[in-house]
């Protein structure tokens, strides 16, 4: 079955995704980027440029470079929105046939759908190139407030680009789909979409198999670009204050300032402070000037707070328009790159009182949702053959009561793994295989699935025998654990039927426990490991001493024995630092005799 392309045809940027093996995945464009600027241009030698290349020549060819065509698509020329945009758009527009809009590029007039089609066509070609197959069908997203004419025009654009449009879906619906919220029953969802140039709020209600738009709101002229502009202005002002130079006329300096502003904005989503550093930003009469400035997250928030406050007010208003109480809202979804800003996340959470969904890349969530819709329509073929995963890790208990995992949680079954283990003591003739399930580091904190003993291991020094332990889970979740002594080929095994007999709640509880105890478990495991290392060293030292009785000088022997006793005592204690110290000292002492033994051999 050929793939259906999910397309987020945005005002400033577009993205595309397909479902592969049941999972939506973003498709990169030819240039290797996950989003494509929604910009179209025709160059002076009549070459059509779309995306990044169109952007790069915009300055020199602004009358023939078209962006924001989405603001015009399917609208009447006399629409107040169009009249408002006409004032600031650098390209020429006029009233076309049927009262629609026409855009002028190089003396030719195009409809907005033709412009959008050029973007869609680039996406189509790039996707085909990436996937190595023809793509003929697509699902395109539009804002929830788009009327029939705008939806039809978007569909037309898709068809001009050579797609068969399977469906036009709402952007907020796509975002909800990407998070799988369609599977929930009768939920009320708010989608807060702060894009590059537009801000949209949508209130959705999920019914039986339907997602209904209850209200839409926002501001078509509020976006992340406004925040960038604010930062750039601030930086330029600071420079002027500091150096008395106005950068506004210096194109390269302004470009570098813009990049620095975007970078600072991104960094301040993760850090509380960042340093902006642009050496040689401009040339003054007396030499070059540099730009350095420390910017804090608090400063960024001060600069842009009015935009955020406004968006929160619009969010509140839209929920009211849907006639819902804020307390009735079940889920909040964040869309658009700007929602990475911690202040936005906090303010949204403060208003709604719920943790917003933000795990999926907010620049990609709409395209991924469109692809998910395609997946639903195609019906995933693989559903016939349902593959399960092990919900929890499986392993055995090893030296020091540590759980050693053989099969990690979320491994698709059927699967098999094996690993070689050895004995912990000299002349150990049997090993106990203690089969465990869970995520905790220490064996006794996990669930015991079974145990068995493999005996008849020939007496030998510790660490020498090779015991191969194998785990095998079949498609029904039945676990077979085997142990094989490589020397004798003696085998023992156990079959565990109920390896996945845990309820969903049990599994969740076990996972949660592991998270809660992660830190202390790590310490316990570390302690156990250090103790094991001490134990191994003591063993080796004792062995060396007894094997080389005659070759070791008496004073060395005495020192080592002393250190040995200290180490032994420490090992049985609980002070981790003491064990470390004792082990290290013993190790140093024994290195001395190691060297002298070696020397003797050399001279002999």
């Amino acid at each position: 079955m050929s793939k259906i392309l999910g397309i987020d045809l945005g005002t400033t940027n577009s993205a595309m995704a397909v479902v592969e093996a049941g999972q939506p995945r973003i498709i990169e464009n030819k240039e290797g980027n996950r989003t494509t600027p929604s910009i179209v241009a025709v160059s002076k030698n009549n070459e059509r440029l779309v995306g990044q290349t169109a952007k790069r020549q915009a300055v020199t060819n602004h009358q023939n470079t078209v962006f924001s065509a989405k603001r015009l698509i399917g609208r009447k020329f006399l629409d107040p929105e169009v009249q408002r945009d006409k004032k600031w758009l650098p390209y020429e527009i006029r009233e076309g046939k049927n009262g629609g809009v026409e855009i002028k590029i190089m003396d030719k007039w195009y409809s907005p759908q033709e412009i959008s089609a050029m973007i869609l066509q680039k996406l189509k070609i790039d996707a085909e190139d990436r996937l190595g197959e023809k793509i003929t069908e697509a699902i395109i997203t539009v804002p929830a407030y788009f009327d029939d004419a705008q939806r039809q025009a978007t569909k037309d654009a898709g068809e001009i680009a050579g797609f068969k449009i399977k469906r036009i879906i709402n952007e907020p619906t796509a975002a909800a789909l990407a998070y799988g919220l369609n599977k929930k029953k009768t939920e009320k969802i708010v989608v807060y979409d702060f894009g590059g140039g537009t801000f949209d709020v949508s209130v959705l209600e999920i019914g039986d198999d339907t997602i209904e738009v209850k209200a839409t709101g926002g501001d078509t002229h509020l976006g992340g670009d406004d925040l960038d502009q604010r930062i750039i202005e601030y930086l330029a002002d600071e420079f002027k204050k500091d150096q008395g130079i106005n950068l506004a006329k210096d194109n390269l300096a302004m470009q570098r300032l813009k990049e620095a502003a975007e970078k600072a904005k991104h960094e301040l989503s993760a850090l509380l402070e960042t340093e902006i550093n642009i050496p040689f930003i401009t040339q003054a009469a007396d030499g070059p000037r540099h730009f350095t400035l420390k910017m804090t997250r608090a400063k960024l928030e001060d600069l842009t707070r009015d935009f955020i406050t406004r968006s929160i007010e619009l969010l509140k208003k839209t929920i009211e328009e849907a006639k819902f109480k804020i307390s009735e809202i079940n889920e909040v979804v964040l869309v658009g790159g700007q929602t990475r800003m911690p202040l936005i996340q906090e303010e949204v959470k403060k208003l709604i009182g719920k943790e917003p969904h933000k795990d999926i890349n907010p620049d990609e969530v709409v395209a991924l949702g469109a692809a998910a819709q395609a997946g639903i329509m195609q019906g995933d073929v693989r559903d016939v053959l349902l593959l399960d995963v092990t919900p929890l890790s499986l392993g055995i208990e090893t030296l020091g009561g540590v759980m050693t995992r053989l099969i990690e949680k979320n491994t698709t079954i059927p699967t098999a793994k094996n690993q070689i283990f050895s004995t912990a003591a000299d002349n150990q003739t049997s090993v106990e295989i203690h089969v465990l399930q869970g995520e905790r580091e220490m064996a006794h904190d996990n669930k015991t699935l079974g145990r068995f003993i493999l005996d008849g291991v020939p007496p030998s020094p510790r660490g020498l025998p090779q015991i191969e332990v194998s785990f095998d889970i079949d498609a029904n979740g039945i676990l077979n654990v085997g142990a094989l002594d490589k020397a004798t080929n003696k085998k023992q095994s156990i079959r565990i039927e109920a390896s996945s007999g845990l309820s969903k709640e049990d599994i969740e509880k076990m996972k949660k426990d592991a998270e809660i105890h992660a830190e202390e478990d790590k310490k316990k495991k570390e302690f156990s490991e250090i103790k094991n290392a001490a134990d191994a060293l003591i063993y080796t030292v004792e062995k060396t001493l007894s094997e080389n009785k005659d070759k070791i000088k008496e004073e060395d022997k005495k020192e080592i024995e002393e250190k040995l006793n200290v180490a032994k005592k420490a090992k049985d204690g609980t002070d981790i630092e003491e064990i470390k110290k004792a082990t290290q000292e013993l190790s140093l002492a024994v290195q001395k005799i190691g060297a002298s033994l070696y020397n003797k051999k050399e001279s002999a």
Binding site: K44, L49, T53, A54, R56, Q57, N251, L252, F280
Partner: protein
């Protein structure tokens, strides 16, 4: 006679079961083959993706290094010290990075970014001045060259 019909019926029944079993077997075999093929294709795809990812990391690394090159280039103009710049230039070369040609070339938005147009006696669209150097690695762009072009 009666017995024969019964036997015949039983035989038909067996044949039906065998036929069903064979169909099932074929279905499973096909499914299994498909899985194996999917897996093998997936592996090939993954290898390709890893290679792309490597290239992406490399490009990103070089892209973040270039501003330092720019600064050293500016510093050289003042101090005349070329050593550090040359060292970095060699490093970039070793990594496969190549400078994009600019002055006198025809503007190409695939590799150039226009910041200004200026009056000139040169043919329209010809690059007059390089404001910031651009770099490529093979056919991949690290950073476009920022240029002034003739009106």
């Amino acid at each position: 006679m009666k017995n024969e019909t019964k036997e015949k019926k039983e035989e038909d029944g067996f044949e039906k079961i065998i036929k069903e079993c064979e169909e099932k077997r074929d279905e499973y075999l096909k499914g299994w083959q498909r899985e194996r093929a999917d897996y093998s294709n997936y592996k090939k795809d993954e290898i390709k993706k890893i290679e792309e990812e490597r290239l992406r990391i490399k490009i990103n690394f070089l892209k973040n290094l270039l501003p330092i090159y720019d600064s050293l280039n500016e510093a050289k103009k003042i101090t005349g010290n070329e050593e550090v710049l040359n060292q970095l230039e060699n490093f970039l070369k070793d990594w496969g990075a190549r400078k994009i040609k600019t002055i006198g070339e025809k503007f190409d938005p695939e590799i150039h970014e226009a910041l200004e147009t200026i009056e000139s006696d040169k043919e329209s669209g010809t690059i007059i001045e390089e404001m910031q150097g651009g770099w490529k690695i093979d056919k991949y762009l690290i950073r476009p060259a920022r240029v002034k072009i003739a009106k």
